[in-house]
Subunit: 197 residues, 2 copies
């Protein structure tokens, strides 16, 4: 069981080579999915006591530590772009990579990853919400970051990340404030106005 | 409480700019302390069931996620090099960075970091052991990695990382096998022979 665990962790080193669209705050390079996963884990353990102490912190930490490992085979998909056959590629990746582990651990990790993807349990909803929150915070702190590069509008940000509101109205207030500041600064396109008919 | 949590997590982005001596396996660049912390968390949740399921996994995950944050102010120290006034600088860093949080969370995080540094509890012993194990695995998988660059010998590796043996004799066997292979490959200097008197 130790041998398969070590082989799995060596394989997962590859996540450090998977680039995301966002950049770490203040750094010129792209962020990789391993350091992003660390940020999420840190954000989870820091925010849970403020938002909902009844959540299962261990379960959430395990989920966010594992959530991007499938990208080793399937790559990162920009959340405002074409999702292609992402789900199928990620399923195969989960089977191959988590399948390197001893059977009981492989089942646990696959089930944690599926729970995150389905986003139905309170823990998965929280994990998905902070996964969306983090790049918004980074883009805002980086003078717009990936938003102006891809011509994103405030409508896209607020529609795409609406899942944050159900988890915490207070966090959602924070998101809308950042998005409005980004429009004022010219980093996000303004909302499309409804034409007068 | 949410505001201070978000400010803290933004500040901790800086850990992504702190470089270690080791390199992610197969990548030419240095590893940063944020992605290293993610690897440790993954290694912890993967190895605990094999080594000692009675350990408190949540406690260990929190410890390893936080353990290097003080490097934002104090920098990374090579474990085979001069440790300088590391302890003092790290204490001040812990006070400043964790002190950004709401009082109850600040106390919890400082106490987790101190527990890791002191290495006295079973959870801290495990966290310290895997923190030592990981660069050994990386250097071995990277054709010697940081070892030949700094002229390290097998004595140094086995003395410096002996804490792994107390946590798991099976992991220690793995370490000594990797170190012996590294000597055979010329990546580590051989043990100093005792001169015949």
């Amino acid at each position: 069981m130790i041998d398969s665990a070590l082989r799995f962790v060596l394989e997962c080193e590859k996540l450090k080579g998977i680039e995301r669209r966002s950049r770490p705050i203040g750094l010129p390079r792209r962020e990789n999915s391993a350091e992003h996963s660390w940020s999420l884990a840190l954000l989870a353990m820091t925010l849970i006591p403020a938002i909902d102490p009844s959540l299962d912190t261990l379960h959430i930490l395990k989920m966010v530590i594992l959530h991007d490992i499938v990208e080793i085979d399937a790559g990162d998909t920009f959340c405002y772009g074409d999702q292609g056959n992402k789900a199928e590629k990620e399923q195969a990746a989960a089977k191959r990579i988590f399948g390197m582990l001893h059977e009981s651990l492989a089942s646990e990790f696959i089930s944690l990853w599926e729970e995150f993807e389905q986003g139905a349990t309170p823990e998965a909803k929280f994990a998905n919400a902070i996964d969306r929150l983090l790049p918004i915070m980074q883009n805002h702190a980086n003078g717009g970051g990936a938003w102006p590069e891809h011509g994103i509008s405030i409508d896209q940000v607020l529609t795409r990340n609406r899942n944050i509101e159900a988890v915490s109205p207070e966090l959602w207030q924070h998101v809308t404030a950042l998005a409005n500041e980004a429009v004022a600064a010219g980093w996000l396109k303004p909302a499309k106005t409804v034409p007068n008919l």
